[in-house]
């Protein structure tokens, strides 16, 4: 059963990884904790749900719908909630508080539109079960894993080989110098928000498809777990977020399987605390320390 539990953990962990990558991208570029990212993830899930309900399209359409809505929402948030505050002054807290406010607004909006209970996601993928040795996975789980892997590879290629990717990396190293070198920093920040939110939206639709339950408050827990993964993997490190997400997913599933379900979150945050104490720069040591 251990192999199956590991497979379960990898499935769960890949969704955590996608959310955490979004956090870490924004933190890397702006040194900003985007506390509404969980809500962007949630809105993506609902957008995907609406695509499936209105137009009876399949999961790919839901993914694209979620991706586009989340990216749009993320960029809107940047323009409306962060840029004005960034321009104002040097307060480190004001932008973060602004993200909290944005998150609350989104939660309440979605609650008004969809109700506060969990909404089932119509299962558009067949639940054909594939047996790979001792592990059994369903078609939908394989779909999720492949989408997550493809997204992470696409992000890696984007960040490493495209001009915008290089601009993003330059901006995250030093915003002022990048501006001096002629990079349109505001545009880079907007694109970063868009990409990070798009990944969050994909994760939202994947969670809806796999776990068949989305609610306006799912962003809260996912957001906190995403932050924990970001801290575990290293602030600003994309690969840290990927590995950290998988690690967290596996740890959670193993704790539930062999211990008590109420310890699930305890393990997640316990791991985060241990990493912060013994390796404050995260597993993939980046130049950004958590104290800043």
């Amino acid at each position: 059963m251990l192999a199956q539990q590991l497979a379960n953990g990898v499935m769960l962990g890949s969704t955590y990884a996608l959310v955490a990558i979004g956090y870490t991208l924004i933190f890397g570029v702006l040194r900003l904790l985007h506390l509404a990212h969980g809500e962007v993830f949630m809105v993506g899930a609902f957008a995907g749900l609406q695509v499936v309900l209105w137009w009876q399209f399949g999961p790919m359409a839901a993914l694209i719908g979620g991706l586009i809505s989340s990216a749009a929402l993320g960029m809107l948030l940047e323009l409306v909630a962060f840029r004005p505050i960034r321009k104002r002054g040097n307060s480190h807290l004001a932008p973060i508080v602004s993200t909290i406010g944005a998150g609350l607004v989104l939660q309440e909006l979605m609650t008004k539109l969809f109700g506060a209970e969990q909404t089932p996601f119509p299962s558009a993928i067949s639940h054909v079960v594939y047996h790979l040795g001792v592990i059994s996975v369903t078609g939908s789980q394989l779909f999720i894993l492949s989408v997550a892997i493809v997204s992470m590879i696409a992000l890696h290629l984007f960040v490493t080989y495209t001009r915008y990717g290089m601009a993003m990396r330059a901006t995250s190293e030093n915003l002022q110098v990048a501006a001096v070198l002629g990079i349109n920093v505001n545009m880079v920040i907007l694109v970063t928000f868009g990409v990070a939110s798009a990944l969050g939206g994909i994760a939202g639709v994947l969670v809806g498809l796999n776990f068949n339950a989305i609610s306006p408050f799912m962003g809260v827990e996912m957001g906190i777990k995403g932050m924990a993964v970001m801290l575990i993997g290293g602030l600003g490190s994309i690969y840290g977020a990927m590995v950290g997400g998988l690690l967290l997913g596996v740890m959670e599933v193993l704790s539930v399987a062999y211990l008590e379900s109420s310890l699930r979150d305890g393990f997640a945050f316990g791991l985060m605390i241990i990493i912060l104490i013994f390796r404050p720069r995260g597993l993939f040591q980046t130049g950004i320390r958590a104290e800043r």
Binding site: M11, V129, A257, S261, R264
Partner: protein, 262 residues
């Protein structure tokens, strides 16, 4: 004070002599349910796994105390009690653990949302064992959320909206006309409780003139209730703990609805 549908154990007993419970205690519901469930199986059930919601008071009490005692009465071994939390979305770890125990049957003690997800995950991971569930699932949304996976799940309910009996069917129709949705267990319980309260008021001649004496009259009416006919749920008596005794309806999920189990 009469509660129409609180299910927490001991609630009436702890508040004697003024508290009464109209709903059946879960123990009184599960005993006939388990009998029916066991009788229905082609292969005898000797070992079960209990999946319960550890966060919800009623589900965790049933899963930890009520079900194990009743199962032991019937000579069934509980291999494992696996828990999840209300609001969980991922049940894969719990179900894989249950699968590893290789039980003959599964008991699910949770509210309709979590139970639907758990049952869907059970079937998804290839477990085809018969499932019996606690009172938390008595809601049409259990079937809506769980889909085809809920087929064959057995439960028991005091009030059953699709009961073909004429009195119940007529009441349900009127409810749907007025409120545009199907009545749930809660609606039926509340209606019957108010009905019986009204019967008590009529039979004891209470008119609100003497508050102190009226209270005693109503209390005694409830305390001494024997086989008073509640319109939707049948003959009701109140036992010495203040809890109601009645025969519940045993149900099974067939297609998109609960039906009375034969």
């Amino acid at each position: 004070m009469v509660t129409p549908m609180a299910a927490k154990a001991g609630i009436a007993a702890a508040n004697r002599p003024w508290a009464f419970r109209f709903a059946l205690t879960t123990e009184n519901v599960y005993r006939p349910l388990l009998d029916a469930w066991l009788k229905k199986q082609a292969m005898p059930i000797k070992k079960v796994v209990i999946l319960m919601d550890a966060k919800d008071a009623v589900s965790s009490f049933d899963g930890k105390t009520v079900f194990p005692v009743l199962l032991k009465e019937k000579g069934i071994e509980v291999l494992d009690t696996v828990s999840f939390q209300t609001g969980d979305i991922d049940y894969s770890g719990q179900v894989t653990r249950a699968k590893g125990r290789n039980p003959d049957g599964i008991v699910v003690s949770a509210l309709y949302n979590e139970a639907a997800h758990a049952v869907a995950e059970l079937r998804k991971q290839g477990m085809s064992q018969p499932i019996v569930a606690g009172v938390g699932i008595n809601d049409p949304r259990f079937i809506q959320i769980g889909g085809a996976a809920t087929e064959g799940v057995m439960a028991a309910s005091d009030f059953f909206a699709d009961n073909p009996e004429p009195v119940v069917a007529a009441w349900v129709k009127e409810y749907e006309n007025r409120f545009k949705q199907k009545p749930s267990n809660a609606s039926g319980e509340m209606y019957d409780t108010l009905y019986l309260m009204r019967e008590c008021i009529k039979s004891t001649g209470v008119i609100g003139s003497d508050l102190k004496a009226d209270r005693v009259k109503l209390r005694d009416c409830w305390a001494n209730m024997k086989n008073m006919q509640a319109p939707l749920m049948g003959a009701t008596s109140i036992d010495k703990n203040g809890d109601a005794t009645r025969v519940p309806t045993v149900l099974v999920v067939k297609g998109t609805a609960f039906v009375v189990a034969q």
